[in-house]
Symmetry: C2
Subunit: 205 residues, 2 copies
């Protein structure tokens, strides 16, 4: 039985390694043994940390990766304007692509496309959370909740797609172009409501 | 030596099986042996058909899949209006998701995210071709070439992203929502140019 000074040590290392492998290979090409080798975690403690085996490990890795990106998105959206927030987000995504030499994709897209049902569900939760965050930001900026929710889905989808296109080009330009077009649409959603509001609002202030 | 009535028989079967496996598992989880097993192709003829081995097979499978989707896109765009074309395309993609029980993704996205450089390049060629087709359609409808090219990249990226989101939801609604928003943007690109060119008087809608 290995000594466990920090009970979360090998567990966290395995989650970290799983995320890294999923981003590079996709879920179906990541085995429990691969994660053990990459993390250096002691084989004996694996089922202690992940009694649900590979399914649990891949699912938890997706959850952790999703929460991390949710944190980054929350920080990016903490600016006065949606347009500036999306540009900051595109810059962060571009830096990530470059740092990984265009071989490291979005772990949530990889999980969504993978063969582990729990991870597919966790990816869906992450997409939903991001959509909610962008919706809230657009509503704050003045869009109607209904239109904001629709535009927010386009924002999440387009950024995921642009990351894939950028990878084939080994160049982040696709992200910039997509964000500029998203900003045109966000502005139209915000302005459409601004122009509607004085007419429909019962109390004009 | 196996009899070869049709010299393209086992070759085509291997390409078909490779595409199917790539769509379900991602490139990194597809071995030469997997494709042989799935296609029933005789082992002995493999390096006769694919002297470049797995790399050649995966790359050619991506090229064939890309050309097939290019054909579908070309047919979808053969309508008087971009909006109707994108709706038809979303319907076709939704049917594909449903037919594959939401376990079968876009082979080009999978190739782009995979670990086979030739297939990543082939995926990039496919994305470029689709972008060019949508650009041409938007220009036909009245957008400026520059703006059309920018919107077309958003269209390709957003559809790829929406396919991924829809898979996590086991529901094609994301495709419909994204296409409605894309159509708002396409119309703005077309109308913006129409207002700039007083010669083209006739109204759309």
């Amino acid at each position: 039985m290995p000594r466990r000074k920090d009970p979360d040590g090998p567990r966290a290392a395995m989650i970290r390694s799983a995320i890294s492998l999923i981003r590079r290979r996709g879920v179906a090409a990541v085995s429990f043994a691969d994660v053990l080798n990459a993390s250096g975690a002691p084989r004996g403690s694996v089922y202690h940390h992940f009694p649900g085996g590979r399914a649990q490990l891949i699912t938890e890795a997706t959850q952790v990766a999703g929460e991390r990106i949710t944190g980054e998105l929350t920080r990016a959206l903490d600016t006065p304007e949606t347009a500036a927030a999306l540009r900051a987000l595109a810059d962060a995504l571009a830096r990530g692509l470059d740092r990984g030499d265009y071989a490291v994709g979005c772990p949530i897209a990889a999980a969504a496309l993978g063969n582990e049902p729990g991870a597919v569900t966790a990816a869906g939760v992450a997409f939903d959370t991001w959509r909610d965050l962008v919706t809230r930001k657009l509503v704050q900026d003045g869009a109607t909740p209904r239109r904001a929710r629709s535009v927010a889905l386009l924002v999440v989808s387009a950024l995921e797609g642009a990351l894939i296109v950028a990878r084939t080009e080994r160049n982040p330009a696709a992200l910039d172009t997509v964000v500029e077009e998203l900003n045109v649409l966000c502005r139209s959603a915000i302005d459409a409501d601004r122009t509607r509001r004085p007419v429909t609002a019962p109390d004009v202030s």
